[in-house]
Point group: C2
Chain length 197, copies 2
């Protein structure tokens, strides 16, 4: 997304400001790598531009994201919700802890990754209740203890109460799981006696 060229100081600050407005989750380390400057240069740039550090930026955006939730309660999102534009895109982050790995393989259990991705897909549906119809998952590589998994979801299509959602799980910039969801938006009352099509 950010071109890997070296900018002059003024231009770099302009691009930096624009990029952080669109993508507030980059750390100083990632920005340094992308702009091919030192971390302290990025910190100086942020200081001049009056942009707070990533933790503070994330906190502000996350508060908005949680307050936007409709189909889930706050604690029902698996992972930490970072961004949510219902019907469009969403993002969450989850660090793989000891309790989430298989004793023998020492890699994250499939259902924790599924839970993060599935709850993000549900959060994207614009209705009080969203039900999963079908899912196709491709596990690209195992996720290790301690890794930070970022889920990025987007609604690719919508027809009436039917949503097509794609979710990618990433570690750094590497895709570790890719999934396609079909979900159904429902009113609370419809669910009890319902049969999924």
């Amino acid at each position: 997304m950010i071109a890997m060229v070296r900018y002059g100081k003024e231009e770099r600050r302009k691009v930096l400001e624009a990029e952080l407005t669109k993508h507030p989750f980059f750390t100083d380390e990632e920005l340094a790598r992308r702009f091919r400057v030192s971390v302290s240069t990025i910190r100086l740039d942020r200081g001049v531009l009056g942009i707070p550090e990533v933790r503070e930026r994330t906190r502000v955006v996350a508060q908005e994201a949680y307050s936007t939730l409709k189909s889930l309660d706050d604690q029902e999102v698996i992972g930490e919700l970072q961004e949510l534009v219902i019907g469009e895109r969403a993002r969450s982050a989850m660090t793989i802890e000891e309790s989430m790995v298989l004793a023998k393989a020492r890699v994250a259990r499939g259902h924790y990754l599924f839970a993060q991705a599935n709850s993000l897909a549900i959060a994207l549906v614009d209705a009080p209740v969203a039900l999963t119809g079908s899912v196709e998952l491709k596990f690209i590589r195992p996720v290790q203890l301690g890794e930070l998994v970022v889920a990025e979801g987007k609604v690719s299509q919508r027809k009436g109460d039917k949503y097509w959602v794609e979710v990618l799980l990433l570690v750094n910039t590497e895709v570790v799981l890719r999934g396609q969801w079909i979900l159904f938006a429902k009113e609370k009352e419809e669910v009890r006696e319902m049969e999924m099509e």
Copy 2:
């Protein structure tokens, strides 16, 4: 599986004994319905045949199943393991509790159903470590609080370290979720640096 005809007493007991050897998990209520006799008739039959009640039958089979586990530890199976013939077939049961349902919809969250099915698929792989490659899920109908979900898994194909597994989740005899897994059998040492194909 059991024909819905009415048998004479002797024949019924013979069929009952044969069926319970193959399928030890039927309750007296289910058997009564299937044989079109009363529950007390079934109890009497079992008494004459010296067959213990379903809880005891399940306990014995489950002990064997848990001792067969290879790719998972006992507590890593989500749900209660009831049967396991590694490389062939497996079965588990899980009751949907309050903590597993969505606050708004009051139906089981997708990742609990996925966890039950996924751990059963993994248990079927004949190796110290099994990794999920891809999954296709179809959620047929939502599962309500209090319902007992039985997972039935079977290995449909196997080629070298690659397994194709089908898992059905059932409530009573109704299929509520159908899934196809592709898994990879691995030795412990292979996993750390591995990339899934």
